[in-house]
């Protein structure tokens, strides 16, 4: 109940703040209004306001010619072949043409706020990217045009401005070094891409992670032997996730482990100082200076086992 009250208070507070802002600073959104107005005008345009791509081509010949390489050309097939191309996104062009090319009379993606551009794109692509507005990218105002370019793309499949992973590295400069470490997923080498594990348009998971078709961690799509279910689960694998023990991008440690020595990794949880936790402590005969120092020499099936509670086989 307290949490509900807190949430309601938060919403009310922000609504009031927004109202105050709106009345106290009307001119603050001039740009927005112009863009939104343009958008609304486009939406409300009648069929007479559309001029057709042939007219656009008279001035924008290069853009129209290159459009044949673009998946959006399929829009021309919509509405029984009467669909439009340029004006499907830029809005009706009659005013723009009649004004002799006045750029304020047509919707310009490069000048519009990311949110307005996103609304344009999501009008058609919302079904494929339903989580985008609430995604990390959406909330951060990293809009569609930040990564995609309809007219100047380098990667044809997704109309990306730059191919993955370079595109992602543009902002995620902290992730690029991880893939240069000795042990890493082969992203720079082209075997896997960022979007194999992350959905840049958002998911219901944190870190925009995808999941396997069965709802498990995305890791098990390739590492199938870890999916289970096992009679004897190593519980943290299922409850805390793979990243309890592994760095997902890259690591100086073998098997992308997040500790260099396996025994340190294991003993972090399996210690006799374990009053409040269910993980068993280290047995006394597990002498770290003899054959028991490498835990996984015996506990080989550490992700789970069907036949041995100690993950021996």
């Amino acid at each position: 109940m307290r949490r509900l009250l807190l949430s309601a208070t938060l919403v009310t507070l922000l609504t009031l703040l927004s109202g105050v802002w709106r009345f106290s600073r009307v001119s603050g959104a001039v740009d927005d209004k112009q863009q939104a107005g343009s958008h609304q005008k486009a939406s409300a345009a009648s069929t007479d306001d559309y001029v057709g791509s042939e007219v656009c081509e008279t001035c924008h010949a290069e853009a129209v010619k290159k459009f044949a390489d673009n998946p959006h050309w399929k829009l021309s097939l919509a509405h029984e072949g009467k669909g439009v191309t340029c004006e499907a996104c830029h809005g009706a062009g009659k005013e723009h043409v009649e004004s002799g090319g006045d750029v304020t009379k047509i919707f310009q993606f490069s000048k519009a706020a990311p949110k307005v551009v996103d609304q344009k794109c999501l009008a058609c692509h919302g079904g494929a990217h339903p989580n985008f507005e609430r995604s990390t990218h959406g909330e951060a105002n990293v809009g569609c045009a930040s990564c995609h370019s309809v007219h100047a793309f380098k990667s044809e499949e997704k109309l990306l401005k730059v191919s993955q992973p370079k595109l992602c590295y543009t902002c995620h400069t902290d992730i690029k070094p991880a893939f240069a470490q000795p042990f890493h997923h082969k992203v720079d080498e082209g075997l896997v891409s960022c979007s194999d594990c992350h959905n840049p348009h958002g998911t219901f998971k944190q870190k925009q992670l995808r999941s396997s078709v069965a709802g498990d961690a995305v890791c098990v799509k390739c590492h199938t032997e870890t999916a289970g279910p096992f009679v004897y689960e190593h519980p943290p694998v299922k409850t805390e996730g793979c990243t309890s023990c592994h760095f997902p991008h890259g690591s100086p440690n073998a098997r992308l482990l997040n500790r260099s020595n396996v025994n340190t990794l294991c003993l972090q949880c399996h210690s006799a100082l374990n009053e409040s936790f269910t993980a068993p402590g280290t047995p006394s005969f597990h002498n770290m200076a003899n054959q028991y120092q490498a835990c996984t020499v015996c506990h080989t099936q550490i992700h789970g086992s069907n036949s041995n509670a100690a993950f021996f086989h």
């Binding site: 609430r134 902290d174 100086p252 340190t264 972090q268 210690s271 005969f285 054959q291």
Partner: protein, 739 residues
Amino acid sequence: MTSAFSLLSGLSGLRSDISRTGLRAMAAIGLAVAVGTMARAQQAPPQAPPQAPAPASEEKVIGGYVTHQSLELGGHIVEQSGSGPMYNTLVNIHSGPRILSQSLTMRAKDPSGAKFFDNLSTSSFGYGGDPINVTVLNISKGRLYDFRGSFRRNRQYFDYNLLANPLIPPNSNPFVPALSSPHLFNTVRRVTDLNLTLAPLSRLSARFGYNHNINQGPSYSSVHVGTDALLLQNWRNSTDTWTAGVDWKPVPRTTFSYDQFITYYKGDTNWQLAGLNYLLSNGTPVSLGVNLSSVWGTPCSSPFNSNGTVNPNCNAYLAYQRYEPIRTLFPTEQFRFQTSSMSRLTMNGRLLYNDTTSNGKNFYELFNGFSSRSSMRQSITTGSSKAQRVNVNGDFGVTWQVTPKLSVSDVYDYWYYRQSGTNVFTETDYTGSSMLVPPGNPTSGTTTDYQILNQKTNANTITSAWDVTARARLSIGYRYRSRTITQLTDVVPIHENWGLFGAALRPTPQLRINLNFDGMYADNAFTRISPRQLQHYRVRATYQPRPWLSFSGSANIMESRNNVTNVNHLDHNRSFSFGTSIAPGEKWSLDMSYGYSDIYSTTLLCYASTPPPPTAGTAPPICVSAGTPYKSDGYYNQPTQYGSFGVVSSPLKRFHVNAGYRISAVNGATTFMNVRQVNGSLQSYFQSPYAGVAWDLEQQWTWKADYNFYGYGEGLPIGPTLPRNFHGNIITLAVRYAF
């Protein structure tokens, strides 16, 4: 044991030989190709960069399709020195001819006249011997269908010899160190993805998909019965996933989707004894395992007779086999919807139900040898297992655009899985005291077991975003998440409260700054390293003062703690990074990056070690009474620096060069619990300078030469293993034909 390890590790030696002989052969081939193509050199326009579709200078129409093709043939000349296994682990590129890349794009000149497809594009790279091969194929026909397929193959050679290494004391007599990792891998993974969408632009469209993922090949594993034997693990597991789904768009901006997934997993990995390096007095091959040390007295105090044969009363293996076929069926149904048809309201949801059943019906394990602890001469175990998991996942998200500047969104996530497993095994043990005598009397027993693991998660995140101006957005949110984990009779409830804050600023059109803060407090933790408090700060900025000049940087700091008594887990992961791209024209461009990350943690833990390492502390009584008398703070620090730069230049119209350098260096430290442990890769560098030239010989021909250096080095000491340092020189010569 040495010869056992050499089974796979010898592969690298063989490859080194190939490399040496291939060096001359490839040089000859490369030279011949170069001379041959240079002879054809005439005026030619610049070609596209590597791996990009070939843009021909003129449209070439074949059968009504504008067609571009390219083929790049060549090969590698590799010289490698130092650790072959480590080179194969990190690089694994060897000499030989290759189909370096290929591409084909076809676009219908007149889509209405195209019968089967409007667009086709395919490309591939790496065939002929590289560890990574990829092929993609996309075909579409307007409103009829859209097909996307890919095939990816990756050979994984892994032999980081410190992993799972027993670190045999050098003063053992005899001293038989484990020179390769007992968990060496030489496997190949093949992943095929096929996706077909019918009527993609219609109100009702259908989707079909198939994914095949198989991972197989030889590897090593180990098993403990008396002592630890090295096993040859014939790795083979695969999944087949079939997908069928429909999308229904009853009104604009509203979609309902239903998907049915069927995943079938086949685990056919089997194990057999490796490392039969010694002989009994009767000539029978025997394995003493990977832990042969007179210092430890393993596998027994006197493993050898005076004549060098193995003591028949020692822990040892004469034979071991294990076969455990697993079949798992994952049927999954998923319903999704999305709508933005209502004014100022968008919402979407998902409901997923999965009922997985895993069967292991024919478990078989044979041990033949001697285990002194139980006086067991042979053991045969057969049985079966069954595990089930029901997974229910429901998500709902809604965004309400309260005013043009204010939006409120809420995401609710429900995830509940319950899984149970049972098994029944019959074990027949045969007594004995000597491996020279056949197994004695059998005793048989049947055991059953039952396990459960459930987790129920409820999470709700409410966020409000306020567009203060066109250039500033602030967001604030609150997340509550509860988890209840049930493991047999143990029930662990965890309640988390999160505060979320975000700011997206665009002070000028050229500058973008994003700040985020997530803070979490939990009243409980499932593991000792699960955080009870977490703070995550992120700052990202990009600045593009000119279209050809951009700077970007980020600071990403995550601090987490589980600082309860006797745990005191502290953890941070801090990274600071910077990148710039300068591309003033077609003549040249420059990319530079730098990153520093510091991963650190401490966790109180206690352990047993003889002799104890110098850093060992005295453990509290609870540890001493548990037989683990030494305490450690579990110190781990991994400061890593990364730097790279790359230059691309076209000094002449038909001559293109590129060069660069990448290095990742870590200078970490950790508390050792074993006097023979070393830092290994925790104090290492991995660098790879590179350079390449491309010469457009004529309109369709390009000659290319690339040089890559890979160097890996570790600090001292290396430990009781082989050194892991290596360097490799890779020259790649190629001819690209675009037509």
